[in-house]
Symmetry: D2
Subunit: 189 residues, 4 copies
């Protein structure tokens, strides 16, 4: 039986919290879920790349560091070139999420980098499918106030603990992304 | 009954030739096809945006001019904000193609811009799903020598007539993209 | 005598207000300033491209519409290919600014598109040179809360009048960009 | 006395050959040059970040792997966040180069990622300032046939040895980038 995979790196725990919200969404769709957290040295357990070949969807996540994915995530991406040569992930669904301290910054560059990776793998990309919350009264409690389209954005202010951020709107956005991916994965099944 | 749409602009005919190849691919899949060529003033017949809401997939095409889509294509993209507010194209498949004179240039920026547009619309993006032809002996007669992943690239040297370029490898790449999109559009129903 | 140019489009006046702030910064540096506002049909007075060849710096501005510059701005960019063939703007300083309703959205894609245009022209690109305001207590009154690095971002909520937005932090960010560009333009002579 | 720095990673030697050509250009300008090759584990000698703070220009180089810089380069970029917090590289000139097997691929995404990094650091970005060689008769022996604008592109076919690629046109393009950067670095003094 197929499953939805989340592969992510988290430096301080905020992106991990975002990943947890994505995971909730996947489970809410009734899909089997497998979560792979990349280690601080950019590694995953032996055999993970092969295992991912059994997934129907792979959701990529990384904090935005210096304008793109963390190097630990990139180490995983580079390792996946082993699968690339045989296009082993071709036609699997793909999606992405990222977290950083600034409201905007270069988060959209990180999401574009995740999309580029997925395109090299011949995957099908699905974004948030959400309109932004962009009125004067909008704020961090609103779904997609962080306004990601290609993928889910989250904002964790530089002085916010993991308890404090990402905030409710970002977590719900992440949850909705997980749900959306899982539902499409069934369709493509 | 649903259909696959190609919406494109062509300045000198090379991108139109690429669009024709994409169209062949769509037809090879047995899908209904509708082609919309944006005029030199960036316009489409009245009612086109609404008509596109009946498509199962929209394939976007534009030459790369000054590092992104032609302004005529962007005028169409901006006009589509009318559909965006109701997310009328949500969940439709999307893909893209581009042509320019240089072997690389900023074609990957144009494809990324088409993807960004599709993400705003809540669409699902599908790339070429092709490995590149990148050996010493590879050349313009090879599929994906032009090496696009997020979308189909084509190269038309600045002094090449429409008869001369895009060349066979790029046309076959475009055809394969049309075929791939049409087949996935059936799956997504 | 050389001058700093601002070339921009504004749909509803918010980007024009941002452009005014950039202009203030240029003037604060004691530099001569010329401002070119692209019309609603994407046009500029005859001879503008040639006139721009006399500038020491060109600052590009556009709202972010559907994930990139407005088509009117792109029409100007495409027209500038006339200058591109002779690299008439080579080595001039370049910078950019953009405004949109969402806090993040695809503003960084718009700035990247402006940079791509400048690179085609052989220009030298200068960003904001600002750290972001990204603490829990940060808000729209803070410089670079909108967190642009490659260029100045501004946020004008969808229901905000031109009197209301862009807000003070974004206007000061824009002013600082104008000042920074003008000072570097002097250095490059 | 100030110097021009080249910081790069090379996996198989092709990017190193490109870096050598950039270095030749810097030396041709009569500038002092320091070259930093990132190790296979993504490391540089202790104190390198601080040393780079004495450079007038930093030229970044990496192969394009899976659509962006190699993870080893990204590890360096992430480590540079230590300098970012104090904006220690602010106003230094920056430029970039990349090599990959395909003629286009996602090289322009890699160059954009290097630019994004430089923008976070508040640097000034300079591209190739070269028109492309894009006629029917153009080929790998021509300057900028590889057609990079934001940075220097090089093509090393997947079966080409380091002796065989990058080829003469790409090496000359790289040399010209080094020369251009060094000359501007003097101007910015």
């Amino acid at each position: 039986m197929s499953f939805v995979a989340i592969v992510y790196f988290s430096g301080y725990g905020h992106t991990a919290k975002q990943a947890d919200a994505v995971a909730e969404g996947v489970k809410a769709a009734g899909s089997e879920l497998r979560v792979y957290r990349i280690s601080d040295t950019g590694d995953l357990p032996e055999g993970t790349l092969e295992e991912l070949s059994g997934a129907s969807a792979i959701i990529y996540g990384s904090p935005t560091y210096m304008g793109s994915v963390a190097w630990q995530f990139k180490k995983f991406a580079d390792a996946s070139s082993k699968v690339w040569v045989t296009q082993g992930w071709k036609n699997k669904l793909a999606a992405g999420f990222t977290n950083s301290a600034s409201v905007s910054g270069d988060k959209c560059a990180t999401i574009a980098a995740l999309w580029t990776l997925a395109m090299q793998h011949g995957q099908i990309w699905i974004g948030t499918g959400l309109l932004p919350a962009n009125l004067k009264a909008s704020g961090p409690a609103d779904v997609n106030w962080s306004s990601g389209f290609g993928g889910a954005h989250a904002i964790s202010p530089a002085d916010a603990t993991v308890d404090e951020a990402p905030r409710s709107g970002d977590l719900e956005t992440a949850r909705l992304l997980g749900l959306r991916v899982a539902e499409f994965a069934k369709k493509l099944g």
